[in-house]
Amino acid sequence: MSGIQIKNLYKIFGEDPAMALDLVKNGMGKTELQDQHSHVLGLQDINIDMREGGIQVVMGLSGSGKSTLIRHINRLIEPTAGEVIVDGVDVLGMSRSDLRKFRAHKTSMVFQKFALLPHRTVQSNVEYGLEVQGISSSERRARSKKWIDRVGLSGFEDNYPSQLSGGMQQRVGLARALATDAEILLMDEAFSALDPLIRTDMQDVLLELQSELKKTIVFITHDLDEALRIGDNICILRDGGIIQKGNAQDIILHPADDYIKDFVKDINRARVLRIDSLMSDDMTNAGTLKLKRDTRLDDAARQMQEADVINAQITDASGKVIGSITLDDIVNSMVEKVEVESTV
């Protein structure tokens, strides 16, 4: 089986994790464990199946265990219990040297604060992973050059990280990660330290690269907007546990609890929701405009306005009509958001 499977993963920080593990398995929560036994519950009973070639987003507030979770995938952190399987291989069973090879060839990582080597130039930073792989210097040069170009940093090869802006430094971080050709890209709040405009830029860069590279990406963020924009699949963490898994639609339409509702209320729903979430079978007044089922609401509204219609047919990927939608429904679903806000 390919992709990444995480099964019954627990991580407890403290003197005696095994003792604490029993308590947690018997239902003790993070606060209690902290107060009564001064152990920190990092992760509890995590189960995720990450698809090969997709982007899995992990979202949660600060301290919810996101960094701890992603560091289990390349075993920068040893679990207290559980399994991590990557491409069918048990990461936790690897010897030290197998693990080093796995990290050098299979996975690469992008960090929140960039984690570049300050004494090395851009070029030499991007070459780092290739150097570890033992690749000759001429090939390193060629391959790093290619990725420096791809992230838009041509001409900055000989600069030092401190001479670059935050956004540019993270481009270096991204190029360094991509240069090793690893299939798995681990991104721990990679864009969180950037200004909003730069962040959107970087999201675009990532999505564009991904449409071509089809890597298995694990993307950590504390920002729901970013999560919805980037992720095929999203899982939400709180106090070390997963409280909801699903795609963007699921999470907006069916938030699992108040914690998630809180996140969701400020979201521009029309940009995330697809028209098939509002689809009706009533074809009596469907009009002639045809829209694909995965069209977002905002896009659909714009197209209906441009065509000057208030009804449209919804088609599936093959073009077959499967239902209809009205402009009213779209507007109503947007207004619903405002109501939620005004009641808070």
């Binding site: 050098a104 990582m109 004494h119 992973g129 401190s162 001479q163 670059l164």
Partner: protein
């Protein structure tokens, strides 16, 4: 019970203890003194040849060489000019030879301290146990009056250059050990994680990340070590180390004020030159880290 008298150890017991320890160390000296001295032969060899090199080379070449080193380390013209004037003054006042001997000795001591101290500092940074053991040892080394550890050094090696340089190294090595340890421990955790995440071996992590990132702190340690080595020049002269300490000793014994002050000034001049040049070098090493965006 008499509360004004502290209950002392029996006189005889004390004498026996003293005899046992002194005798024991003398035994040790007789048994191992020579092999230790042989083991330290490279230090002596380096010192002798470096000293000869400085003394046998015509003084203009040495002067130009020194100014060249200072310039390339610091890229500061005024410091270079100052070096020229300072060294010229030392020579003019008749202390050229002694200054060369001192220079050879502190260079050797510094090299020895760096070669020994950096690995020790690394070991200390890698293991909390080693750190717990090393810290009190370093405290003792730094606070024990230097005359006290001259005693076993003299017992082992007698009088001469080697005991002098050993005494200097013992006194000067703690800062480089401490600051190497500190520098490595302060390296950004995320950068270390990055090195691990790309599959670095611990050797690659040490040489590519930890040492380069700790380098400014390590350089500060080297600088302090050099300064402490210079401060030991006079004490080392007591056990026979040649150089600018000798005229100072002579001046103390004979109350030669001018001789004492001028030799002292020569040490100060050397100290300032080496301090400024090594600091400027350290800053230049990390200049690209400080440039803003």
């Amino acid at each position: 019970m008499e509360w004004t008298e502290f209950p002392e150890m029996e006189r005889e017991q004390l004498r026996d203890l003293r005899k046992a320890i002194d005798g024991g160390f003398r035994e040790f000296t007789r048994a191992y003194g020579e092999s230790i001295e042989n083991a330290l032969y490279p230090v002596e060899w380096f010192l002798k040849h470096f000293e000869n090199l400085l003394l046998d080379t015509p003084w203009p070449l040495v002067l130009i060489g020194l100014c060249g080193i200072v310039y390339f380390a610091s890229r500061r013209p005024w410091l270079t000019l100052g070096t020229f004037v300072g060294m010229a003054l030392i020579g003019y006042f008749g202390m050229w030879e002694d200054a060369m001997k001192t220079l050879a000795m502190i260079s050797t001591a510094t090299l020895g301290s760096v070669l020994l101290g950096i690995p020790l500092g690394i070991a200390m940074a890698k293991s909390d146990r080693v750190q717990t053991i090393m810290n009190p040892v370093l405290d003792v080394m730094q606070t024990m009056p230097s005359f006290v550890y001259l005693i076993p050094v003299i017992m082992l090696f007698g009088i001469g250059k080697l005991p002098g340089i050993i005494a200097v190294i013992i006194y000067a090595i703690p800062p480089i050990i401490r600051l190497t340890n500190l520098g490595i421990r302060l390296v950004d955790k995320e950068v270390l994680e990055a090195a691990d995440a790309f599959g670095s071996t611990s050797w690659k992590r040490l040489t590519n990340v930890q040492i380069p990132l700790a380098l400014p702190t390590i350089m500060a340690g080297v600088n302090q070590t050099i300064m402490m080595a210079l401060a030991m020049v006079v004490v080392a002269a007591l056990v026979g180390a040649p150089g600018l300490g000798q005229p100072v000793l002579k001046a103390i014994n004979n109350q030669f004020l001018f001789m004492g002050v001028s030799a002292g000034m020569a040490i100060v001049i050397l100290a300032i030159i080496i301090d400024r040049a090594s600091q400027a070098y350290g800053q230049r090493l990390q200049s690209h880290r400080e440039k803003g965006h």
